[in-house]
Subunit: 369 residues, 4 copies
């Protein structure tokens, strides 16, 4: 049996729940640093479950056999909608995240940010800490880049997402971004998942390059189990045997995830394609399979980009793609966040479950916790 505890317990609360466990004959043990999951071993009795459920520190009692409980669709009747500024993901809403691969300088960033906002993006992406295969490659500008992103947010109104690589950086990055990105290389990094799980900042979690869908969901489960319900899954292509594309976008996984989990699912066609000429058709395929949005590398001068240049779309290409996305979403009665007309039309809908009509300036997250 596992107990999921409330975040930020006081010492006396922690003592109280541990005492109850021991009194009932269990040997309790915390799983992970986050101390939000307490594993109980011992014979126990049939009435114990309800005693734990009644305790004020306990959010949920989980049987060991019910793995993936928190990500599974049956656990909630409807989609989780993750909201970041104007962007909404899930529940009939899709959003576009766009920006340069790595943040290189403030002028270029501002140019790109303004352009992608005008073209339909509602979140700005930009790499501050870059995971690199070689230790000798450019690893990003770090905190300087985060400050540039904050400036861009101020000037454009776009919330920002950036990758965090190290659990020791979670606090500093969390103070500056509106959404964490966990990259493919770190999908199975439990320390990092635990750490972002202890915040309430939304998390964009990318699938590992050879991870099964079950492993992907269990990585999200780490974040949810640590207390953060705001996870967006991102399919970015798995490693294949051919090299005409950098990775193989798994549209079947997107379709399957939309059935299996209540969490929103988006696609990253830039890393799947690895070449600009194939980004748009792959992006369209992702939306057609059911994705709730896209994260795309866009550059105002793709040929000059220092990292991953060949896969960045130009501003014009992004604008054309955004138009296609609108058409694809309309097929299913879905909408792109940030579209003025769509939003106003939507706010008159009776479908009040989807999104929320009053959004504060910078960042709001509504969830069912």
């Amino acid at each position: 049996m596992l107990l999921r505890l409330r975040a930020s317990l006081s010492d006396s609360e922690r003592h109280s729940i541990l005492k109850l466990c021991k009194d009932l004959g269990y040997s309790p043990k915390f799983l992970g640093r986050a101390e939000s999951l307490l594993e109980l071993e011992g014979p126990g009795g049939p009435g114990d479950r309800s005693q734990f459920e009644d305790h004020t520190c306990v959010v949920q009692v989980i049987e060991m056999s019910e793995s993936c409980e928190l990500t599974a669709r049956p656990s909630q009747g409807e989609d989780t909608v993750v909201t970041v500024g104007q962007a909404r993901f899930g529940g009939g809403w899709a959003s576009l995240i766009a920006g340069p691969c790595a943040v290189e300088n403030i002028d270029r960033l501002l140019t790109i940010a303004g352009s992608v906002r005008d073209a339909g993006a509602t979140i700005l992406r930009g790499g501050a800490y870059k995971p690199r295969t070689s230790p000798y490659s450019f690893r990003g500008l770090g905190v300087d880049a985060l400050d540039y992103l904050a400036t861009a947010r101020e000037k454009t109104g776009l919330p920002i997402v950036s990758e965090v690589l190290d659990p020791r950086d979670v606090e500093a990055v969390g103070e500056r971004v509106d959404m964490f990105q966990i990259g493919s290389r770190n999908m199975s990094n439990a320390s990092l998942l635990d750490e972002v799980g202890r915040t309430t900042t939304p998390v964009l979690l990318k699938r590992g390059m050879a991870s099964t869908v079950r492993e992907f969901l269990l990585a999200a489960e780490y974040v949810l189990a640590a207390g953060n319900p705001n996870v967006i899954l991102c399919e970015r292509g798995v490693r294949g045997f051919d090299n005409v594309t950098r990775n193989l976008l798994d549209v079947g996984a997107i379709a399957f995830l939309k059935e299996r989990t209540h969490l929103p699912v988006i696609a990253d066609p830039s890393h799947a394609a690895g070449r600009a000429d194939l980004v748009a058709p792959i992006a369209r395929a992702g939306i057609a399979a059911g994705a709730d949005g896209l994260i795309i590398e866009v550059h105002n001068a793709p040929e000059e980009a220092r990292s991953d240049g060949p896969q960045a779309l130009s501003i014009d290409e992004f604008k054309r793609l955004a138009a296609d996305v609108r058409t694809l979403l309309a097929m299913d009665g879905r909408r792109l966040s940030g579209d003025a007309s769509a939003d106003s039309k939507h706010s008159s809908d009776s479908d009040s479950n989807r999104g929320d009509s009053t959004r504060p300036e910078s960042l709001e997250v509504k969830h069912h916790a």
Copy 2:
């Protein structure tokens, strides 16, 4: 140097071209049984190429370094449009191929055939010879099934496609079908490719389950090199490491192929998904990535199907998918073959590049029109 020869040379013509080769100092050798490719070895001279080009038996002179010459887009300015009855593939046209996995009995086949025609299909598919992993599995009804398919064509007007597994069956199958299917397991079966290449019947060529795109194009090159220009490439998913879907539909390969080759490309979402609930989103992804059509398993009572039942769509599901496909095609100004309104609208269009009215002689194939 390779010489591609006209099909059906007389003995004296064959003698004449072999004599020319030897007179010029080459040692000629036929590649494959089809005797349509003649490999020349020897020092040769700079003027030889033009002498061969002038010979009436020679269709084309190919330098050894120019592999994939016939499938490559640069070799023709525009898309090849393959036409099978009302169905057109390529050049802005897409078509739906539908039917049961294996042909089981005539009544069921007629029911399914009529239903898929009414729902938008323009070709009927049905397995007569089934490739099976186990020797103890049902391998199809063979010639009986082909006869049932012929009856269904007569009653519904739909042309038929069925798989051929053995080079010795090419003649018998070719007499009965309007398009050959070469399955994944046989993509690299040169004998079979040579044999269907000697006909003019269109060939639906499926990608091997772990074949690269280059290998796929070279398999098509076998058919084209043997003299048959009517090849439709079919992406049906590659083998992956996960099992939530049976295979992984490679939408990047579809997008890449549309750039690289003038041949039409379709998708097989049924074998990619391996489960009915994911067929429609995967099919939509394929069209959104640029596919010129779909081949889908449809069954009027999917739960009773003897082979591959769990992946067959019901008639109603297929009808809804066809509606989605129309919307997706319209996004790009493409059209679904067989749509009465679309066809009449199309013939009044000025867009004469799309469709078959101006296609060159050698590529036009009409079957049972």
Copy 3:
């Protein structure tokens, strides 16, 4: 229920067994062209099985659920030993097959054949019909090459193995070789498997480049079900995502197969490595994992070889490898066929389970002994 029938039934025998089936209320149907498997559908009764078992045309009665029955180890207490000339595979014996990738000319072939025999090979390999990715590549010398191989057998005493690609060639190739090779591309070619299954010539069956072990065993089952028990499985590497080697030799599959099936298993390190410098360590790994032999490309002037040259070992490299193989086999009390001392030593052993002296009738195959 399936009936496996004797090969070469007369018309009256065939009529007799079909009549029995119908009299008992079954509807019988042949699976495949070989007409060695008869599928029965119908309710049937509990005593039917023994009636079929008693019929003189029936070799075996197979329940549909018992797939892989013939390849499974439980079906025979001990290893099948496949014997080809002096070469023995299985039951504690291993053998080396060596020779050029493609047969190019008689002089070179004789040189290589003599050298590999002196270095420890007991079978000569050589490609007559070559499967090629491109239609414009050298496809082998065909029947001429087979005749060269026959000459080499005469001069060196080595039996020969060569690939057959087309079911129409099985008869002609079978007249000239001592063992058929079925290549990776044809592992799932049921027509070809049926056809070689109707002979008694041993079959070297290579695993498909992305085939599961279960699919591999079921391919062998095709040959056994058609009546030919003399199958050697060959692991040659599966397709991976890296390119430091051409394929990934699956040593775990070798170890697994040795547990699961009574058939001999060998390794092809040449196609796994794709580069000469890695052939020897990969070959050693295969034997250490349990393989009953190797098939190796050897060339007296590897740099001049027309096809696959970079992966051919020189004569000296092959000789050194053969010495390593002897040491590895000795670790398990296994022996290399053709070693004079080993053979004589072996015949005086009490270990009569190993080797061919007590093998049952149906499995014994002697060629050109």
Copy 4:
């Protein structure tokens, strides 16, 4: 240009080298937290390189194009021998690492430790922090387990290796273990690689489950670039499409790595096989392909093990495997560390480059820094 700096520079030293860079017109930037790599951008001049080489803070000047410089064999004439207690890896020495998957209790650990030492192991492995797919799985006993391991070292004399998952744990784990293990999931975790790279404790680096060999070498390059030369590469199988084994041991990669890098390479047959019955043949294959040792899960009661039980060898199975390994190593004139006779024989060799004859009690590392 990159400068690799000495570890533990004083502030004034750091200032001095940064000043030199700026004086020569470069804009310097540290790569990663370890501050051991300084990237220089700017035009620079032809004589700059030698000025940097002369600076006392600079260990090495690396041109950007020379990636993988430190792991590449050409950079050192001979094998790096990594020594951990009596265990030596590389330069003709191999060693066996054995122990339970997870450390569960002190009694069982002591039993296993004593048994594997007597059977030939020279390092004890045991999981204290376990990477798990599910947040609800047992994640190891943490520091308690490390203390148990330290006790086992004291009682048996075996040095210990254990996995570190979090950069924040590197110091605490480093105080207790003789070798860090970096698991497959963390092969690309640059923060963790940087952190262990700042120590001199040997690092056992496992290949990612879908990492190319180049990516694997670049991960090792992170550790070497940060200043720690004592890296042992561990091939543990890559993810495949079949499930008869858990992973696919890439023996070709082992052979390739032994050519390409001077670092020792070992194999992990337990995680490759995923089932005890195939561990021994896969282990033998790894050694036969050139591996300098093995890491094996051994348990005195495999059926009771809490994590990964089905793949643990019993003590007896491990003993038999150790005997096979000795035979395989002898084939190449290699030796197993810890074998009394081999060691004494070796110390009389003139081959003084291999290993070192005088070893202190617990842990010694000799490297070329």
